[in-house]
Symmetry: D3
Subunit: 61 residues, 6 copies
Amino acid sequence: MPYIHLRLAGELSREQKKQIVEEFTATMERVANKPREYVIVNIEETKEENWGWGGAMLDEV
Amino acid sequence: MPYIHLRLAGELSREQKKQIVEEFTATMERVANKPREYVIVNIEETKEENWGWGGAMLDEV
Amino acid sequence: MPYIHLRLAGELSREQKKQIVEEFTATMERVANKPREYVIVNIEETKEENWGWGGAMLDEV
Amino acid sequence: MPYIHLRLAGELSREQKKQIVEEFTATMERVANKPREYVIVNIEETKEENWGWGGAMLDEV
Amino acid sequence: MPYIHLRLAGELSREQKKQIVEEFTATMERVANKPREYVIVNIEETKEENWGWGGAMLDEV
Amino acid sequence: MPYIHLRLAGELSREQKKQIVEEFTATMERVANKPREYVIVNIEETKEENWGWGGAMLDEV
């Protein structure tokens, strides 16, 4: 039951999301021996201005 | 201090959210003996196209 | 694809976990009309000393 | 690699976000001895009606 | 700033973790055009008995 | 209802946890105008070997 949560700044196209889901799932199947029907991926697209890194706002770095 | 995070594809009506909060809280109180004033529920409604399952996009399954 | 993550201070018996899984799943099925085979519950048991509330440590409140 | 996720009901101004990022990062650096370039902060602004507390909806409390 | 959180039932060897980190990072770089030095992966290994699926405990399915 | 989840590699002393809880709470109160009795902090201490950054394992960087 691997649950993968990807949180990133900005947006992805549907094509990118699909590719990410396929590749993450393939990695879990091949490397961790998890049946693919158990692998769940959730993508969370967020605003850049909601991230800080090293004490600064990500969109000002 | 039970913190319950529900992440789901799609949206819920206010009535559904209210009912879920009530039932989850009642479960924690009755089954886990937690005082209800400590139980927090947070609901996150997400787009279906942001989920993958078994390597496929949830809205194509 | 409802994914429910319960994070709480302390531990639960297997019987309690089982009951929580059953009740949370039933709530999602009945209230949110989600097929039960899509409902995932994950329970995270944590140390009390890793929680703060209102600025104080939970185990000192 | 401290990763701080702040989830709150309502919205914050950019100025507030910036201040929070600065202070959380400073705390991690000073108290936990973590290099500031490793400290990541992510802020998630959510609707009040998606929170329950003590069995009631947060916006009805 | 993609942050990937993998939560799974059971444990992984160090070699598996390393391979997963490499592959997830490569996917983010190639598919989402994210600089690899921004990609963070966190793996959380959990007990099987803390998962429910479809209303049953994962280790009884 | 600000909920702050801090996930970090390594462990903290009780004194450090207490100080972090106090400072994070004070920041939320002063900067975001949140009543302190609503501020929850949860600290998750994890193994260094469960983190990847830039495609490498954190404990090999």
